[in-house]
């Protein structure tokens, strides 16, 4: 029993759920679903998430897919005391978090499209430079959100920050570093990276992914490859 996360470290959404669990202090076990081996397509896993995507969560009788819905559930169910600000319950504050969670889909899609992840990994293609302008509109959007507040959905850290930073940092795979036009965003990224649980959840998977991605791009040899 207890909370069980069906997880794949290389998925930024899966890591955002892990950050939520850790921030809440919820104890959980992990079952790895290795996407490289196609484990998401087994009948057994499809019983848990019929869409065959990671992450998924099982808690008692509840089987849940969709990373953001999972994070909202965890907060609704387990947040107490000072943890409640991760997903505030005042309708106006919560609305901003929900809005940013949905906007986060646009940001994640845009970055994944620019990096052309599937193309690079499986078809010998390159990132799509013509999509860089779209990435920059995402960065500008976040920069504007951060005007007058420390986190993207308000004055406090919320789950929307987790779901924005994990996909955003995919940009490190191509060493994107042009944050000068976005000073508030740059500062926020540093704040997120200095959360005490950030590294233990993100560092290794990000390094592994970057090595694999860059190996495919034929850039200077990667030290280690995970797959």
């Amino acid at each position: 029993m207890g909370v069980k996360l069906y997880h794949f470290g290389l998925s930024p959404f899966s890591r955002a759920v892990q950050m939520t669990l850790t921030a809440l202090g919820v104890k959980y076990s992990i079952e790895t679903i290795d996407l490289m081996k196609g484990e998401q397509r087994t009948d057994e896993y499809k019983k848990i998430n019929p869409r065959g995507k990671v992450p998924a969560l099982v808690d008692g009788k509840l089987s849940l897919g969709e990373s953001r819905a999972i994070a909202c559930y965890l907060c609704n169910k387990y947040a107490s005391g000072s943890k409640k600000t991760l997903y505030p319950s005042a309708p106006e504050l919560r609305a901003k978090v929900d809005m940013l969670l949905y906007v986060g889909e646009w940001i994640a899609d845009t970055i994944v499209e620019y990096l052309n992840i599937a193309g690079v990994l499986f078809r010998g293609e390159k990132p799509k430079d013509e999509k860089l302008a779209d990435v920059k509109s995402c960065l500008q959007y976040l920069e504007d959100c951060l005007k007058g507040q420390n986190y993207i959905a308000g004055d406090n850290l919320t789950i929307a920050d987790f779901f924005a930073v994990c996909p955003l940092l995919l940009l490190e795979n191509v060493d994107f570093n042009d944050y000068d036009p976005y000073p508030k965003l740059k500062k926020w990224i540093n704040t997120m990276k200095s959360l005490k649980y950030f590294d233990e959840i993100n560092k290794e998977p990000m390094k592994m992914f970057k090595a694999a991605f860059n190996e495919k791009l034929n850039l200077p040899a990667a030290k280690q490859t995970g797959f």
């Binding site: 509840l62 953001r68 909202c72 559930y73 106006e92 609305a95 809005m99 949905y102 889909e105 959007y141």
Partner: protein
């Protein structure tokens, strides 16, 4: 207090918000944002939603975009004893509604970006991806499977997840996609949604003008 909804009636997610307002019995002011004439790119509107998308909602100081977030807000703020089941507050029940709202984004991608491609047909001289129906059928089957066990998407009663999934699916009318009956559980559910007393007001005839233009452009391009 006046709620103001910025919307173009052709927008499926905008119509879902409209139905949510009606289901909650709320009064609001409608401000039309005509997408065909790019009113969503006007500076006044960009002040409400910098992304230039409809629908958007203003409630006093709050400016909100993203249709599903708007619907959740309306329920969180204004639901009464009689309407709170639209977005239940028990964590387990709410989780299923949220899951269906988020997977609705995937269905929308399959139907809109993967198949109908309305924006690309209207503005960029393209054709729909007529043959790319696998994703569409996968989405319909996913719904049908869910509705085998439950009368509604998140259980035995109507929730906002139904109001969103319905307008997405029905948008297939743009291409007169008529395979709904191949998914009997889904079809039965569609009939229930279409019998809601506010359904017609929010949906009937709302896509007709854009549909006519879209289909005319397609015919013209197919002749060439």
């Amino acid at each position: 207090m006046v709620l103001v909804l910025y919307n173009d009636p052709v927008s499926p997610s905008g119509r879902s918000v409209h139905m949510t307002l009606r289901a909650l019995g709320l009064d609001f002011e409608w401000k039309n944002v005509n997408l065909i004439s790019s009113e969503n790119r006007l500076p006044e509107f960009l002040k409400i939603n910098p992304r230039g998308k409809v629908p958007a909602l203003v409630d006093e100081d709050l400016k909100l975009a993203e249709s599903r977030a708007i619907a959740c807000y309306l329920c969180n703020k204004y639901a009464t004893e009689g309407t709170k089941s639209l977005y239940p507050s028990e964590p387990e029940k709410r989780a299923i509604v949220d899951q269906m709202l988020y997977s609705g984004e995937w269905m929308w991608e399959e139907i809109y970006i993967g198949y109908l491609r309305v924006r690309w047909v209207l503005y960029y001289g393209e054709l729909p991806w007529f043959h790319n129906t696998d994703g569409v059928r996968e989405a319909l089957k996913y719904l049908d499977d869910r509705l085998k066990e439950n009368a509604y998407m998140a259980g035995n009663h109507l929730t906002i997840a139904d109001l969103f999934a319905h307008t997405t699916i029905r948008f297939l009318d743009m291409l007169d996609f008529d395979e709904y009956s191949n998914y009997p559980h889904m079809k039965a559910w569609m009939d229930k949604i279409e019998a809601l007393d506010y359904y017609d007001e929010c949906n009937n005839g709302k896509i007709d003008k854009v549909k006519e233009k879209y289909q005319a452009l397609i015919k013209e391009r197919q002749k060439q």
